[in-house]
Symmetry: C2
Subunit: 216 residues, 2 copies
DNA sequence: CAGACAATCGGACCGTGGTCCACTTAGCCC
DNA sequence: GGGCTAAGTGGACCACGGTCCGATTGTCTG
């Protein structure tokens, strides 16, 4: 979400708006003042609603209403419900991405790639267990779930680490396999429903990484 | 879906109906004639609609209408949209299950467990590529997706094979990891969007099985 | 400051999934 | 056949996600 594209909290500009043409608006990428204000209002309102009544209480209409804004504006800004939720998660995702791209070892560059991969899994597990409901709701749409840049970025990252480790074989597929075990819905289910403690999930990740990266 | 419970095309009987009490109905598990007729009608109508306009055209209202039945009846029978779709897939799932539980090797019992596991993946891939849209729509609901008996049965099966192979470690988690790569949404995305040929997905499965079951 | 234009807004509107409950009917017992 | 009971029915009703388009407003140019 951060690597491949502009921050998702950027408005869903219609394609033509990439270049605001010779129009009155400022340079490309600027956002009209009222638009920016409304976006902030909407995010605040959404966050408040989620905090107060959980993700299910975050109705698009309720958000619009709480932000004193029309419903159409919400959709214009964030595309759809999933988009709004992703925007809510953007800070978190960004932070995690940053930790990996530029942060200190063992997550950031410089550490042994195997350690980085292990750390990636643990960090991701933490995020999932913290924001499980949000994440789950964010990729409820099966059509965009796997196509979303956020997932692409993670997949790319994991694939890179696998290559650094020297894994041979179909690295992209192996990356997907690893990522699959960190799926929000799955992890939440394992943790909440099946009652698996975090430690077990962590060890499961470590084990899987070990098996997949083992020389043959 | 077949191992753990009665065929899902069985009506969603309210809990109390498990024992029809001393009431007028026949023995436990029977279904009133009109109910049975309506269920058949609904399934037929649903199948027709899917064939004609794809899964998106299969509106609950359209199904009810085509079956000459009230909307409430549809929901009473199948619980929700996902339930109806699962019922539609029940034949397929049952067939696959049967092939594994009682069919001929390499899928059925008798073959080397490693070969059975490989065969399982290939068979599952075939099903997913054939009924991708249906399967995807069937587990659109993240809440029941992982909790559903169907998935449980698969997980149990894979776990059993892993144990037979002699894999040590957290077998249930490893089974989930394997299963994750066969997720309908993921596979469809890899195949249709990313353009990965089936053969590559098959080899990916084989490779993953090999890595996970390799002695250490 | 006025004019012009596009980005932005807002809320009426729509389709869909899902619920509810008063009414009907099948099936058993006498 | 008549009566009884619970399963079954159907369609009005609701909430929510998402779309649309006429009205509005911000911003730049002259």
């Amino acid at each position: 979400m951060i690597v491949d594209v502009a921050p998702s909290s950027t408005p869903q500009v219609p394609p033509s708006a990439a270049l605001p043409m010779a129009g009155p608006a400022g340079g490309p990428g600027t956002e009209r003042a009222d638009a920016a204000r409304n976006r902030r209002r909407l995010l605040d309102a959404a966050r408040r609603l989620v905090a107060a009544e959980g993700i299910d209480g975050m109705t698009m209409e309720a958000v619009a209403c709480a932000a004193q804004v029309g419903k159409g504006t919400v959709f214009r800004r964030f595309g759809d419900r999933a988009g709004l939720i992703r925007a809510l998660l953007d800070d978190t995702e960004t932070a995690l991405q940053d930790r990996f791209l530029t942060g200190p070892p063992p997550l950031g560059p410089g550490a042994d790639p195997h350690d980085r991969l292990v750390a990636f899994g643990h960090a991701r597990l933490d995020v999932v267990l913290l924001h499980g409901d949000l994440l789950r709701a964010a990729d409820a749409d099966d059509r965009t779930r796997y196509a979303h840049p956020s997932r692409g970025a993670s997949a790319t990252h994991v694939a890179m680490l696998l290559r650094e480790i020297g894994v041979d074989g179909d690295v992209p597929l192996l990356a997907e396999a690893l990522l699959g075990t960190l799926d929000a819905g799955l992890v939440v289910h394992q943790h909440r429903v099946l009652g698996m403690p975090v430690e077990r999930l962590r060890q499961g990740w470590d084990d899987l990484v070990a098996r997949i990266t083992a020389p043959r």
